[in-house]
């Protein structure tokens, strides 16, 4: 990106890690994301919460390049992501998981993990067809790294199994492992604990904490308030596509606007009637 010396604001922003600047995404008349701005600092666990349909997943899709924003921009380490296809966003260091787990079901667990590394290696068709050293070395290296990664997330014993045979908890873990294989700087997790039982949730929270202490920045969409309040450093609240609040977990918990968005204004009506 060309440095814009005219605008001190631009320069200020390039110091930031991941900046969401006035991003909107409309589908026809529906404003799925409406003028949302916030900035994520390096090493944070940054949560995006809101009622169903608030635009959280759409926001993730805009950040990761699956949809371009209707207006506004996403800056990552000072680089405008506008117009970049999803695979290039991933190569810049933004990886994600999906709310509904999307694995490569008819491939082995290890192959799933290995696919994540492929955007970081270079062997071309000729290297592979002629079995040149580059292809051989990379294949060995990726396999080693894949096994190491599976070991780290506790999936090593399933490495040869078809991914479709894993139960949900392990599928979610494999999805995270696969995203980590792309060597991200920011990891976007879309409801990582959805559908999990309490003990699995605790394990997932521990994993998220561990990833952060390993230097990863985490952007989290989550419905479970225990998880959110337990791990987040900073929370942004969306409702009907717009940002309604932002702050530390304890501030958000007591914020009347947030409570209203989640629970409605019913209480006043009830008290008024009585």
């Amino acid at each position: 990106m060309e440095p814009n010396t005219d605008s001190p604001f631009e320069n200020q922003q390039t110091d930031q890690f991941l900046v969401i600047d006035n991003v909107s995404r409309h589908f026809g008349a529906l404003k799925a994301v409406d003028n949302v701005s916030f900035s994520v600092k390096k090493g944070q666990i940054f949560s995006v919460i809101g009622p169903n349909g608030a635009g959280k997943t759409t926001l993730f899709n805009v950040i990761t390049g699956i949809y371009p924003p209707t207006s506004g921009k996403v800056l990552f380490e000072g680089k405008n992501l506008k117009g970049l296809p999803a695979h290039q966003v991933t190569r810049l260091g933004i990886a994600r998981t999906y709310q509904i787990v999307r694995l490569f079901d008819n491939m082995s667990v290890l192959e799933n993990a290995m696919v994540g590394f492929y955007c970081r290696i270079k062997a071309g068709v000729w290297d592979i067809i002629l079995n040149l050293p580059r292809a051989k070395n990379e294949r060995r290296l990726v396999k080693e790294k894949g096994i190491e990664l599976l070991d780290r997330v506790g999936l090593l014993e399933y490495q040869d199994y078809i991914a479709a045979s894993l139960p949900l908890g392990l599928r979610k873990r494999l999805q995270i492992a696969r995203a980590l294989a792309t060597e991200p700087k920011v990891l976007l997790l879309d409801e990582p604990t959805g559908g999990m039982n309490p003990s699995e949730k605790v394990e997932m929270m521990a994993l998220i904490e561990r990833l952060r202490s390993g230097g990863l920045t985490i952007l989290l969409v989550e419905h479970d308030m225990n998880v959110i309040m337990g791990v987040s450093d900073w929370i942004v609240v969306l409702d009907y596509g717009a940002k309604i609040a932002e702050g530390k977990p304890e501030e958000i918990q007591t914020n009347p606007v947030v409570i209203e968005a989640y629970l409605g204004r019913g209480l006043e009506n009830v008290t008024a009637k009585n």
Partner: protein, 357 residues
């Protein structure tokens, strides 16, 4: 069909076990190769060697289509068009029709390249479409190539081109079906080796990832559009080369050889044999060429396509992965009734002994 399933499970399980042995990787291919090399010593009938020659040509193509359909999951129903391109290239560049007699192997590789480029060019607009629509575009492409050949002066229209030069290797001229048999055997072995390398490479895995979930593959930093273009390019190359072999072997080429049915046959080979497995594609091609052969001349001959159709339906219902698919441990429960949601970790370890599919 249940017994067929059992047999295929038994067979692949045994084969996998054999391949896991340290000697298995060397012994199994060597023995298979020797067996194939010895066939002409024992099979004296030229007729059957010719059938196997034809199987060799289909193996070349099934391996190519396996890249497009098996790994990348793009349904190409016009694959015979690439075959036609290759066949007509040798018919034009190696026959008295224009009085041009190029070197066989130069045209062999040129035809591969031409077919690859055709595959690539068709993919540029075609990949904007998904699933069934892409299949329709490829049908249209396949038919338009055939109809062009049926009408152009260049291809001698419906009469076709005859007296095509046979294959030559240096001063040596292939005159018998046995000569073609050995050359095709060598080509198929080379192709199997190259395809195996691709299959187990980052590109092979990336193709499969695109087939499984394109969006997720894109999120893994894979340029899915380029990968699909590459699959369409590489996958079409063997068909062009197979076309050259076909033209040289038959010494006659006409548009009748490249009907829609040809494309369907090759698709059937990949699906029956086993998607995304090199050996599966080879097996499928062998089965679909050799097995119906005794029916030739009988009342069933004209029903050949009907039988392919029935076979495809039966395979889709009972063994959608094909006879010899790529194998993993563990049963896939995702397409089952509960979407894999109710599984406990215990079940996974229980399924250790079963072979997936």
């Amino acid at each position: 069909m249940k017994t067929g399933n059992k047999f295929s499970d038994w067979f692949t399980q045994k084969y996998d076990a054999l391949e896991r042995q340290p000697y298995g990787r060397i012994v199994v291919p060597t023995v298979t190769l020797l067996a194939f090399a010895l066939i002409p010593m024992f099979v004296k009938s030229n007729y059957w060697i010719r059938v196997l020659d034809s199987a060799g040509i289909y193996i070349m193509m099934a391996l190519g289509l396996n890249i497009i359909l098996g790994y990348t999951g793009l349904l190409n129903l016009g694959y015979a068009a690439y075959y036609a391109i290759g066949a007509y290239m040798w018919a034009i560049l190696g026959s008295p029709y224009f009085g041009i007699h190029w070197n066989f192997w130069v045209v062999f590789f040129l035809a591969g390249l031409a077919a690859g480029v055709a595959g690539y060019l068709l993919a540029i607009p075609g990949l904007g479409l998904k699933g069934d629509y892409l299949a329709l575009v490829t049908i249209g492409f396949g038919e338009s190539i055939r109809i062009l050949a049926n009408n152009l002066k260049l291809t001698n229209a419906a009469m076709g081109i005859s007296q095509i030069d046979p294959m030559t290797i240096g001063p040596f001229k292939a005159t018998s079906v046995q000569h073609y048999y050995y050359v095709l055997l060598v080509i198929c072995v080379i192709e199997v080796i190259l395809m195996r390398r691709l299959e187990n490479s980052r590109i092979g895995h990336a193709w499969m990832a695109v087939r499984e979930d394109e969006l997720a593959a894109e999120s893994m930093g894979l340029d899915t559009h380029n990968l699909k273009l590459l699959a369409c390019f590489i996958g079409a190359i063997p068909a062009g080369m197979a076309g050259v072999m076909f033209a040289a072997m038959q010494t006659y080429v006409s548009p009748v050889s490249f009907k829609f049915v040809e494309s369907i046959t090759i698709v059937a080979m990949v699906i029956v044999g086993g998607r995304a497995n090199v050996y599966g594609a080879v097996l499928g091609a062998l089965l679909l060429v050799v097995v119906p052969e005794p029916l030739r001349g009988s009342i069933f001959d004209s029903a050949r396509i009907l039988i392919y159709g029935l076979l495809l339906i039966v395979m889709m219902l009972y063994k959608p992965q094909g006879f010899w698919p790529r194998r993993y441990r563990g049963k896939s429960h995702v397409k089952g009734n509960n979407g894999g949601l109710d599984l406990s970790g215990k079940k996974i370890s229980d399924s250790k002994t079963s072979v997936g599919g």
